[in-house]
C-alpha cells in the first residue's frame, strides 16, 4: 500500500510540473496581453508596466522566476485585480468553492449509490426503472437549466429558499442540489450497472447459498467490486466539483473560484490562470491518488 502511495507521488510531481510548463507556454503564445483595454496604452506606460511585472524578460527567465516563487508558495500578483495577490484571490474564493463542491460531492455519491442499490434490489421492477429514468434525466440536464429551474420553483414561486447570495445556511441548498444532480445521475447509473454485473458473479451466488439476507449479499458481497467504476469516475469529477462550478456560481451569485478561472483567462491574467491551473491539477492528482487507495480497499488484488 505504502509502495503504491510513494510510486504515485513520484509520478505526480513531474505531472504537475508538466502541467505548469504547458499552461505557461500556452498562455504566453496566445495573442493579447493583460494590459489590453478599450483605450490602448501609450508605448512608454506599457513598457513601464511590462518592466514592473517582469514581462520584458526572456520567457525562460520569467518561467524560472515563476517556478522559484511557486516553490516558496508565492503565486505572484494578479495583473488585472490590482492590489490583490493570486494567493489572496484563491484564498477568498476557495472556501466557497470547496464548501459548494464538497457538499455536492457528498450528496451526489450518497444519492447515486443509494439509488443504484435500490434499483438493483429488484432488477427490472418499477423502482429500478423509475430510478434509471431519473438518473438519465439528471445526467442529460445541464446545470444552467436545473439551476434557474430550481431558483424559479423554490426561490420565486414557493419562496422557500433564498435565490442567491450566501446570507444563510439555507442558501447552500439550491446550488448544491443543482451541482450534484448530474453527478448523482451518473453515479447511480454506474452503481446500477456495476451491481448488475456483480450480482451474477459466482461469489454472490455462494453468498446467497449461505442463507444471507438479500441486503447483506448486495452490500457486503456485490457492492465493493461494483463501486470500482464509480470511484474511477468520481476521482476526476470531484476535482471538477471542488474547484468551482462556473455556471452554478454565476447563476446563484456565489463568490467562488470559477469566475476567477474564466475572467483570468479572458483578461490574460497570467499569474491568476496559472495559480488556478496548479490548484486544479493538484486536486486532480490528489483525487486520483485517493481513488487508487480506494481501489486497494475495494479489491485486495489491486494492493500488489
Amino acid at each position: 500500500m505504502l509502495a503504491i502511495l510513494l510510486r504515485r507521488l513520484a509520478t505526480a510531481l513531474p505531472t504537475l510540473l508538466a502541467v505548469i510548463l504547458l499552461s505557461f507556454v500556452l498562455m504566453r503564445t496566445a495573442p493579447g496581453s493583460p494590459f489590453d483595454s478599450e483605450r490602448p496604452l501609450d508605448a512608454a506606460t506599457r513598457a513601464a508596466m511590462d518592466r514592473t511585472y517582469g514581462l520584458d524578460q526572456p520567457l525562460i527567465v520569467q518561467l524560472g522566476r515563476y517556478l522559484g516563487n511557486v516553490l516558496q508558495g508565492d503565486f505572484g500578483p494578479s495583473l488585472v485585480y490590482k492590489d490583490f495577490t493570486v494567493s489572496g484571490l484563491i484564498a477568498q474564493g476557495l472556501p466557497v468553492s470547496l464548501t459548494l463542491g464538497g457538499l455536492a460531492l457528498i450528496l451526489a455519491a450518497a444519492l447515486g449509490i443509494a439509488g443504484g442499490i435500490l434499483g438493483a434490489l429488484r432488477p427490472g421492477g418499477w423502482l429500478d426503472r423509475w430510478i434509471g429514468f431519473k438518473s438519465a434525466v439528471a445526467v442529460a440536464l445541464p446545470s444552467f437549466v436545473t439551476g434557474p429551474l430550481l431558483v424559479l420553483v423554490f426561490g420565486l414561486w414557493l419562496s422557500w429558499l433564498p435565490v442567491s447570495g450566501l446570507d444563510s445556511a439555507a442558501a447552500w441548498i439550491l446550488p448544491v442540489l443543482a451541482l450534484a444532480t448530474p453527478t448523482a445521475g451518473a453515479v447511480a447509473k454506474l452503481t446500477r450497472t456495476g451491481l448488475a454485473e456483480a450480482m451474477v458473479q459466482d461469489h454472490v451466488r455462494t453468498a446467497r447459498a449461505r442463507g444471507l439476507s438479500p441486503l447483506t449479499v448486495l452490500v457486503r458481497h456485490a457492492l465493493p467490486p461494483a463501486l470500482i467504476p464509480v470511484v474511477s469516475y468520481l476521482g476526476p469529477a470531484a476535482a471538477g466539483l471542488l474547484t468551482g462550478a462556473v455556471v452554478i456560481e454565476t447563476v446563484f451569485g456565489l463568490p467562488g473560484l470559477g469566475r476567477y478561472f474564466v475572467q483570468g483567462a479572458l483578461n490574460r491574467d497570467y499569474p491568476l490562470v496559472l495559480g488556478v491551473v496548479i490548484l486544479y491539477a493538484g486536486l486532480i492528482l490528489l483525487f486520483n491518488l485517493i481513488a487508487d487507495l480506494l481501489y486497494g480497499l475495494l479489491d485486495p488484488r489491486a494492493r500488489g
Binding site: H203, A209, R210, G211, L212, R220, P224, P300, R301
Partner: protein, 499 residues
C-alpha cells in the same frame, strides 16, 4: 431415513423443459451422485429446489422433512441455511474483497477465532489463512476454504457441484476424502460429477440423468458395473482409462522444433528453469505435471505467446525470434488452443469471424471470398459445418465452442498446435469426442502437437512422448506408455496414482 428427498421435480424455462420428474434421495451420512453429460440437468436438479437457479420448479423437495418447492425466497432462506453448497469454480466462488476468515465467520455465525481456526483445520488449512484474501490461495486451498465455509454451520446436507473438476488429479481424491469425513458426522452429500472413477469410489448411490430425466438409479457399484441404459454405458466408455490399449499414432518425420535451456521467471519465482525438449513433424509431446509446475509457462515461452527470459528455440533449424519480433510467417507455423473455449472466443463475434481472424493477420493478401472458403473448410474439418458459421459463442455448447477454437487454430495451416488443457473444461463424453477429433486431425494433417495436461489419459490418447514437469524443471521424458507404466519421478508417480 433420508435427509433429503426429491420427488417428481420438474422445471421449465422459456418454454424449454429442463427437468422432468426427477426423483432421488440421500440418506443420513450417505452420498448420492448425479452423473450425466453436460446439459443433462445435473446442476439444475441440485440448485433449483433451493432457489439458486432460474425458474420456478414444481414437484417436491424436502430437506429434513421441510418442503421447499413453492416457497418464496424469505421462507426458503432458513431451510437453505440447513444445507451447504460447494461450487465448481474455486477461483470465482469466494468473494475476492473479503478475507477467508470474514467469509467463514459469516457462514458460521460466530467471530470466535479459535472456532474458525478449528473449522479451517478440519479442512486441512492452517489458521494463518483466516487473514488472507482468496487470491493468495491456490485452487486446491480455495476449494478447501469453500468447503470450510459450506460446512461451518454443520449442515444436514452438502450440495457439491463438480467440486473437483477444476482441480488437478492429485487434489481430487483429497477433496473427496475430506467430504467423506463430514459424512461420517451424519451429513448427507449430493455430488455432481462427470468423473466416474471418482463417483465409483465415493458415492453409495448413483443417479444418471439424460435430457432432464432420470434414466438410471441404483447402488453405485450396480449402476457402474452393470449399466442398463445405453447413455450410461457411453458415459462409462468415454471415461479415459490408463489401461485402455495404446492408439495408433502417425510416424514422426524430420526435426521440427527444438527448445533448449528455457528459463521463465515471474519476479522472484522461477516458473521454468533450464527446460529443453525436441519435437518432430507429426509428433506429439505431452507436458504433464500438477498445477503450478510450469507446463503452461514453458509451452507459452516456446510458442512465443508468453515471456521467455533465456534459452533458444529453433524451428526447422532456424532460430525463432523473441516474442516481440515474431512475424506472420512464424506465427502461421504454430497455433494455440486454450482451456476455456468460452473465454477464448470473442462473445460479440460470429463463429465465422473468429475462425477468419487468423487469416486476416497471417495472410493479409487473401481475398474475403477465399477467407470465407478456408473458414468453411476448417469448420467442416472440425465436424461443425456451415450451419454454425453465423452463430455466436453464447449459443454454443462447451464442446462446440472448443471445436470452433480448434478450427481457428487449423485455418492458418499450422504444422504444430499447442493444446493448453484443451479438454479439461469439458465433460467426459464431450472431451472424449474432442480427443477423437484431435486424433483424426493428427493423422490426416500430420500435425505435430504440444499438449499441456494434468490428465495422463490425454497424454495416452494423443502423444508419442511425455515430459513430466515438477517445480519448473523437466524431471522425466520418455515414450508415453513406457513412462506411465514405470514412472521414475515422484511427480509422475503421484499423477499415476491419482488417475
Amino acid at each position: 431415513m433420508s435427509v433429503y428427498a426429491v420427488e417428481g421435480l420438474s422445471l421449465s424455462l422459456n418454454g424449454a423443459q429442463l427437468l422432468e420428474g426427477v426423483s432421488f434421495a440421500i440418506d443420513k451420512g450417505g452420498c448420492t451422485a448425479l452423473v450425466g453429460a453436460s446439459g443433462s440437468g445435473k446442476t439444475m436438479s441440485c440448485f433449483a429446489p433451493f432457489g439458486l437457479a432460474p425458474g420456478t420448479p414444481t414437484g417436491s423437495a424436502r430437506l429434513e422433512g421441510a418442503e421447499m418447492i413453492g416457497l418464496a425466497e424469505p421462507a426458503l432462506r432458513p431451510i437453505r441455511a440447513r444445507a451447504g453448497f460447494v461450487f465448481q469454480q474455486p477461483l470465482t466462488a469466494l468473494t475476492p474483497h473479503l478475507t477467508i476468515g470474514s467469509q467463514l465467520a459469516e457462514a458460521a455465525g460466530t467471530r470466535d477465532r479459535s472456532a474458525l481456526a478449528a473449522m479451517l483445520d478440519r479442512c486441512g488449512l492452517p489458521e494463518a489463512k483466516l487473514d488472507q484474501y482468496p487470491h493468495r490461495l491456490s485452487g486446491g486451498e480455495r476449494q478447501r476454504a469453500l468447503i470450510a465455509c459450506a460446512t461451518a454451520h454443520d449442515p444436514a446436507l452438502l450440495v457439491a457441484d463438480e467440486p473437483t473438476s477444476a482441480l488437478d488429479a492429485g487434489l481430487r481424491h483429497a477433496i473427496l476424502d475430506l467430504l467423506d469425513r463430514f459424512r461420517e458426522r451424519g451429513m448427507g452429500l449430493l455430488l455432481v460429477s462427470h468423473d466416474l472413477p471418482l463417483v465409483a469410489k465415493h458415492a453409495d448411490r448413483v443417479v444418471v440423468l439424460d435430457g432432464g430425466k432420470v434414466i438410471e438409479d441404483g447402488r453405485a457399484a450396480d449402476v457402474l458395473e452393470r449399466p442398463q441404459h445405453a447413455t450410461t454405458r457411453a458415459l462409462i466408455a468415454a471415461s479415459p482409462r490408463l489401461d485402455s490399449p495404446a492408439p495408433l499414432l502417425p510416424e514422426p518425420g524430420a526435426p521440427l522444433l527444438s527448445a533448449s535451456g528455457i528459463n521463465v521467471r515471474f519476479g522472484k519465482l522461477a516458473a521454468v528453469s533450464g527446460a529443453s525438449f525436441d519435437l518432430r513433424e507429426g509428433e506429439a509431446l505431452a507436458l504433464v505435471g500438477r498445477s503450478g509446475s510450469g507446463k503452461s509457462s514453458l509451452a507459452r515461452a516456446v510458442a512465443r505467446l508468453g515471456p521467455c527470459d533465456s534459452g533458444t528455440v529453433t524451428w526447422r533449424g532456424d532460430p525463432l525470434p523473441p516474442r516481440s519480433r515474431m512475424r506472420a510467417e512464424h506465427r502461421r507455423c504454430l497455433q494455440p488452443v486454450f482451456q476455456d473455449p468460452a473465454a477464448s472466443l470473442d462473445p460479440h463475434w460470429t463463429v465465422q469471424q473468429s475462425v477468419e481472424e487468423p487469416l486476416r493477420h497471417l495472410f493479409p493478401d487473401l481475398a474475403s471470398e477465399a477467407r470465407a472458403e478456408r473458414a468453411a473448410a476448417a469448420l467442416d474439418e472440425v465436424e461443425l459445418g456451415s450451419a454454425y458459421a453465423k452463430r455466436r459463442p453464447a449459443t454454443l455448447s462447451g464442446g462446440q465452442a472448443q471445436r470452433v477454437a480448434i478450427a481457428r487454430a487449423l485455418v492458418a495451416d499450422p504444422e504444430l498446435i499447442l493444446l493448453d488443457e484443451a479438454t479439461s473444461a469439458l465433460d467426459v463424453l464431450v472431451a472424449g469426442r474432442i480427443l477423437d477429433l484431435l486424433g483424426k486431425l493428427q493423422a490426416s494433417r500430420r500435425l505435430a502437437i504440444l499438449a499441456i495436461t494434468h490428465d495422463l489419459a490425454v497424454a495416452r490418447a494423443l502423444c508419442h512422448r511425455t515430459a513430466v514437469m515438477d517445480a519448473g524443471r523437466i524431471v522425466e521424458t520418455g515414450d508415453t506408455a513406457a513412462t506411465i507404466a514405470a514412472p521414475q519421478s515422484q511427480a509422475l508417480r503421484d499423477l499415476v496414482s491419482a488417475s
